[in-house]
């Protein structure tokens, strides 16, 4: 019982310190600036962006792809580790679920920011056409949002009940809300069976749905004729890329949370080691698909492909391209191969560079292709031949990233980031084992 009280004290959500408050306020300020920029975009039209008839998609789309990719972490860590009975996952699953939910919600919002006529959003339902990959996206994204939410919510029920009791005197208001959210959880056998069964079904469902989500995201590009997009490699390429981005984001967030909440006893070096191996696997698979994507076209060197790849390898995008490939992929693999590289701090740095690399990677997938159409770019202002995001685009994009971080922050503030009940159960099991042996 003493143990249990310590557990509760360690894991129950606590108020933010000074740093937490400053962090939250700065996120809110960034978001407000972004909203102002967006309203300006609504009024003036997308002329405030640097997108034009050739670079017709820009960072809104690459940012959307990044969010979709990051949301894959829910399917991977939670569902796959659950189905493969990897019990070390317990302290990290909730954070993974939170990242997943925040990312997929922001993906939905980001794609609407790119729409020039958000006032006609309902047309997507009224006049929906099944043959358009966008309609597939309209179906799969809400599905994934619901599944991610349920996968976060159902395992929370016992913890909500615990927190309701825990806060009864300290904060009646919070206690009431936790009580409502716990849906009258008593921990009875019948409740437990239903809960376990539901979680199992959702964990099963979210894997194919997650894979379909990434695939449709890839098909948005590969269903066109454009050089650099018209590739059969694209769907698995996107799935593995999502694997990389998601796990890297998870590692980064876990490191910060562990540091601030002092959870070294719960999230140990072992967890970082395991996650490091998982990230190394993800990066290696992604590297494999990158080789397929970039080196095989070099072999045949069709004219359009050759021009496209030249701008990436040695041309205008070379610095960014090699940063993404080397710093965002190859160097992390090398670091992660060593046991010392899989300690928390190096892992945090690796995770951060991989996340940044992943973000720019999407930019490199979207932009260069559009600037190499089949017919030459002629008869338009010189500036239309290049693309770099405008101030409005940066402000709005940074605001979407801040909004994702804010969702994560708020959820971390009010939810037990490490499942309390589950950890208690596991410790109980351990004790029983220890006394037996």
């Amino acid at each position: 019982m003493k143990n249990y009280n310590k557990l509760l004290k360690d894991l129950a959500p606590t108020k933010f310190g000074k740093v937490g408050v400053i962090w939250t306020i700065s996120l809110i300020v960034i978001i407000i600036i972004g909203i102002i920029a967006y309203v300006d975009q609504l009024i003036k039209g997308q002329v405030v962006t640097n997108m034009r008839d050739y670079a017709l998609w820009g960072i809104y789309i690459s940012n959307f792809v990044f969010f979709v990719a990051t949301s894959f972490v829910g399917s991977i860590t939670v569902a796959i580790l659950r189905l493969t009975h990897n019990s070390w996952r317990t302290p990290i699953v909730r954070i993974a679920e939170i990242i997943s939910l925040a990312a997929i919600i922001m993906a939905g919002i980001t794609i609407m920011i790119d729409m020039a006529r958000p006032d006609r959003l309902l047309n997507l339902f009224i006049h929906a056409r099944m043959q358009s990959p966008i309609t597939w996206d309209v179906i799969i994204i809400p599905t994934y949002i619901v599944l991610s939410f349920l996968l976060l919510y159902f395992p929370l029920l016992p913890d909500f009940a615990i927190l309701k009791k825990h806060y009864k005197e300290k904060s009646p208001f919070l206690s009431r809300w936790y009580g409502r959210l716990s849906l009258k959880w008593t921990g009875s056998l019948s409740q437990k069976t239903i809960q376990i069964k539901s979680i199992k079904i959702i964990a099963f469902m979210i894997i194919p749905v997650g894979i379909i989500l990434q695939t449709i995201d890839a098909w948005l590009f590969s269903t066109t004729f454009r050089i650099g997009w018209d590739s059969n490699n694209f769907a698995p390429y996107f799935i593995t890329g999502a694997f990389v981005a998601g796990i890297a984001a998870l590692i980064t967030v876990i490191y910060v949370v562990r540091k601030i909440y002092k959870l070294e006893n719960y999230i140990t070096d072992l967890h970082f080691d395991k996650l490091g191996k998982l990230l190394a696997l993800a990066c290696l698979t992604y590297l494999y698909f990158n080789i397929n994507e970039y080196l095989i076209p070099v072999f045949t060197a069709k004219k359009g492909e050759a021009i496209h790849l030249d701008t990436l390898f040695t041309g205008h995008y070379a610095i960014l391209f090699w940063f993404v490939i080397l710093v965002g992929l190859v160097v992390p693999i090398l670091i992660l191969l060593f046991k010392k590289g899989r300690k928390p701090l190096p892992m945090f740095l690796v995770g951060l560079t991989v996340v940044i690399g992943s973000w720019w990677k999407r930019y490199l997938i979207v932009t260069p292709t559009l600037l190499h159409p089949f017919l030459p770019i002629q008869g338009v202002p010189e500036s239309w031949r290049h693309y770099f995001p405008s101030l409005h685009e940066w402000l709005i994009t940074i605001a979407t990233l801040a909004m994702a971080l804010l969702i994560i922050t708020v959820l971390i503030r009010y939810l037990p980031i490490i499942p309390i009940q589950r950890t208690a159960d596991e410790q109980e099991l351990l004790k029983i084992k220890n006394t037996e042996s």
Partner: protein
């Protein structure tokens, strides 16, 4: 106790479902039998009527078998913007041998479609396939493909293909996702990034008795939607040729109906199939399988030297804006 309760509910639901299913099947069966019973006995009156079938044969039919039907309204002949003209298939032939980049087509197109943006619908490219081959001028606009990539990817059916071959945009429905622009390999589509400054377009259109409709490229243009060449159905309706065809001083553009197998540039009318045969007509990027409605004749035996067009060529500007 609780378990019992759920169990009895399950049983109730199960029974209810089965009963419902049985009722439905029974109902359908009864109505079938009923309709059989109500059918009139097949007593022929012996009176035969002589009728002509649609393929011109005379047949005799028992008079009781003859039922008068209402004349079906001929929807085929009614004009509908999304259906287009019946029994027509518009095609264009562009004779590259005659083009000298005079730009009159573009100017006329811009004027009549009130294009004030930086990107014209009709563009004349300076082309040269390789160093050794001759340069030439290539006018392009929307190719009005029979397998249009833009229509396939549109999520809201804002861009559509008509049976007369024309691809149009309904800019009151377009959500501005620009997927069609990404899908089009001919870069034919332009976007209204800001509120289009089309001047007195509304009063101008009223004067010309034009109503906003996809037939007239959806004019007036709307902020945040896609525009493109419309093949001028508003001209076709009045028996006229598209603006670019009539404006060209060199007779580069031929427009016509594939079913009539004739195309005209306003001066001469030629047999479409023979023209393509004789002059080795081709289409742009045939390999993509988009099946364009615009055909090109190769730039051979040119009337005017390629260089003559260079004085009109402006690399970074295509739209001559009204002063």
């Amino acid at each position: 106790m609780k378990k019992n309760k759920t169990n009895s509910r399950r049983i109730f639901l199960n029974k209810g479902l089965k009963l419902g299913l049985a009722t439905v099947i029974g109902g359908v069966g009864l109505s079938k039998i009923g309709s059989k019973l109500n059918a009139k006995p097949n007593d022929s009156s012996g009176e035969k009527m002589e009728l002509m079938t649609t393929d011109g044969n005379l047949v005799k039919v028992d008079s009781t078998e003859v039922i008068e039907i209402e004349h079906s309204q001929d929807y085929d002949k009614k004009y509908n913007v999304r259906e287009g003209f019946s029994n027509r298939k518009f095609v264009m032939v562009v004779d590259l041998a005659k083009c000298k980049n005079a730009l009159k087509c573009q100017i006329s197109c811009n004027k009549n479609h009130y294009i004030t943006g930086d990107n014209a619908w009709l563009k004349i490219y300076k082309m040269q396939e390789s160093k050794e081959t001759a340069p030439y001028w290539l006018p392009t606009a929307c190719q009005h493909c029979d397998q249009p990539a833009c229509v396939t990817v549109c999520p809201v059916d804002a861009t559509f293909k008509r049976r007369d071959g024309i691809v149009l945009v309904d800019n009151t429905r377009c959500i501005g996702c620009r997927f069609c622009m990404a899908a089009c390999p001919y870069s034919a589509r332009v976007f209204n990034w800001k509120k289009p400054e089309q001047g007195d377009i509304i009063s101008d259109m009223k004067m010309n008795n034009q109503v906003p409709s996809p037939d007239h490229a959806g004019l007036p243009s709307i902020k945040g939607t896609v525009d493109k060449c419309d093949f001028c159905p508003h001209e076709i309706k009045e028996g006229k040729l598209p603006h670019c065809v009539t404006a060209c001083p060199n007779g580069v553009f031929y427009f016509g109906d594939k079913y009539e197998d004739s195309v005209t540039n306003g001066e001469e009318t030629l047999r479409f199939s023979k023209l393509l045969q004789d002059k080795a007509g081709y289409r742009l990027m045939e390999g993509l399988g988009t099946e364009p409605s615009v055909y090109y004749l190769p730039p051979v035996d040119r009337l005017v030297d390629f260089k003559d067009g260079l004085e009109d060529f402006t690399e970074f500007q295509s739209v001559v804006k009204p002063e």
